[in-house]
Amino acid sequence: MASADGDIVLRTVGLSKRYGRRLAVDSLDIAVRRGHVYGFLGPNGAGKTTTIACALGLIAPSAGHVEIFGLDTRTHRTQAIRRTGSTLEGQSYFPHLTARANLRIWAAISRDVTPSRIEDVIDLVGLRDRANDKVRNYSLGMKQRLSLAAAIMHAPELLILDEPTNGLDPAGIREFRDLIRELARGGMTVFVSSHILSEVEQMCDDVAILKAGRLIHQGPVGALTSAASSITIRTTDDAGALKVLAALPWTAGARASDGAIVVDAPRERAADLSRALAEAGIWLFELRPAESSLEDFFLEVTGAQA
């Protein structure tokens, strides 16, 4: 079954997976656009890995299905997956072999991967100096790099990464983030699951938030953070200002806080806010847009504790 929308690279349609009595994924509908970096966010146990496993054909959905490049993976799994690269949570390498030998083995499955391409990805992920060492002697970060090299060496159009920065140090995370952005600039679509919010915020164009197997929110990262933004003001008359603000249709609320007023409104309304208060004879001596982070939004929608 082909998707009508050619711009969508990965789509889940009513995807559900049940383990016994537990519903790990519940009627999930997500769509990943071509060339975007898509963050798949959720607390542990939210169903991220299960969704990825369904997409890659590792587990069978209880209901619904996954389309990759418009191909239904129930019937065209191999064609779809051959254009996809992935790293999976947990180890997936031969510890008794060198990184180069590991990549040669994965190249045998992917086909069309030349020896020079293997050398290229070894360079790309920064494993040149240790390529002939046995992988069992690698640090976790090096193993993650090896997984990424294996995932991209056949130049996939879609890259699916499950918790890829687990075990990386801050420098490694930054390098990894830069690499992902570089791959995306080259036209690769990237689907990355993570529970590290700042990482998703900095790396992704779109984000889906999952909680207990259900999709809580999906959309551009920028829209999510600006939707949750507020403006902090200090005025000559806080009581009067609160009355004026309550009457404005584009504020979601206003409250006094630490000698200031926090107005729930997008930053683009700062000028309107200033004008409305001035017309009421109330003067501002401080106005500070305070954009909420994705973390705030995530904690709010998932109900998790900070």
Binding site: A60, T78, I81, S92, Y93, A107, A108, I109, A150
Partner: protein, 298 residues
């Protein structure tokens, strides 16, 4: 690199196959040198006629041409165990390494993964078994010379073995190993555990040997049931390898196979093939439908 070459690379670079290979070589050494030559040396000039009764059995354990079916008999029994352990490890370890999931996630089909794994391990195991047989034959030649026997396939006034028959004898013993190897393959692939596959095949072989002995002794319906057992039918193929009816000293944990009490070799071949088909069908069926999840040894 082809998928098969990749599979062989994975297998030959592990230490376990080589440890098991050493065990096979030691087993062949024990068969020829200890059960054969040393036993013969202790008994051959023995005055006690009762003790001298064991001389032919010891002789057949190291002197060609009898040493060949004797080696194949012991090799089928212990080879089934060793190869079973090796196969169980080769399959289940990939679950633990997460490489099964990764291969499937790269687009390899599940049937393809099983087939390549099976083919690669079968080739590797065949090579190990043939090398072990070669070492056993070399030991036989050395010990025969040391004991003053002629090294020949057709000793005068006795049995005769042609070169052309040797591949057929090896094939018979190999077919006797196959269902056990596939049982270990099935246990490891379905159970996702080296321990289950390895322990399972060892227990199965020893328990089966004991049960065959008991059912044989009980007779009647029990004896009739043996026609379905792997061990009984494998023994039939090994009985077809025998050059005469004299007993021989073997490392195999069972009586010397007696053609008179065993099924026809062709029937045995069909029964063992049926076992192989059944085990393969179950393995492929389960593996195709299995969820490959993290945290379940996969």
């Amino acid at each position: 690199m082809s998928l098969l070459a990749a599979e062989l690379l994975k297998t030959r670079t592990r230490w376990l196959p080589w440890v098991l290979f050493v065990v096979l070589l030691l087993g062949a050494g024990v068969q020829v040198w200890l059960f054969g030559y040393t036993a013969w040396w202790d008994l051959h000039d023995e005055a006690d006629p009762e003790l001298r009764n064991d001389v032919p059995g010891a002789t057949r354990a190291f002197v060609l041409p009898w040493a060949l079916p004797t080696l194949l008999d012991a090799g089928q029994f212990w080879g089934s165990i060793i190869i079973g352990v090796l196969i169980a490890s080769a399959v289940a370890t990939e679950y633990n390494w997460g490489t099964v999931r990764h291969a499937i996630a790269r687009g390899q089909s599940r049937d393809g993964w099983l087939t390549v794994k099976l083919t690669g391990v079968a080739l590797f195991c065949s090579a190990l078994l043939l090398l072990t047989l070669a070492w056993g034959i070399a030991s036989s030649i050395i010990t025969s010379n040391m004991a003053g026997f002629d090294v020949t396939l057709d000793p005068a006034g006795s049995v005769e073995l042609s070169i052309a028959e040797i591949p057929l004898m090896i094939l018979r013993a190999g077919v006797g190993v196959l269902p056990y190897a596939l049982l270990a393959f099935a246990l490891a692939a379905i159970g996702r555990s080296t321990a289950l596959g390895a322990t399972g095949i060892i227990l199965f072989i020893f328990i089966e040997a004991a049960v065959i002995g008991i059912f044989d002794a009980l007779g009647g319906t029990f004896e009739d049931l043996l026609v379905f057992s792997m061990g009984h039918n494998a023994a039939s193929l090994l009985a077809a390898n025998r050059l005469d009816s004299e007993t021989y000293a073997s490392l195999a944990f069972r009586e010397n196979p007696d053609p008179a009490s065993l099924p026809d070799p062709w029937f045995a071949f069909v029964m063992l093939a049926a076992w192989c088909v059944l085990l393969l069908a179950v393995t492929y069926y389960v593996f195709r439908r299995r969820d490959l999840r993290l945290g379940t040894g996969e």
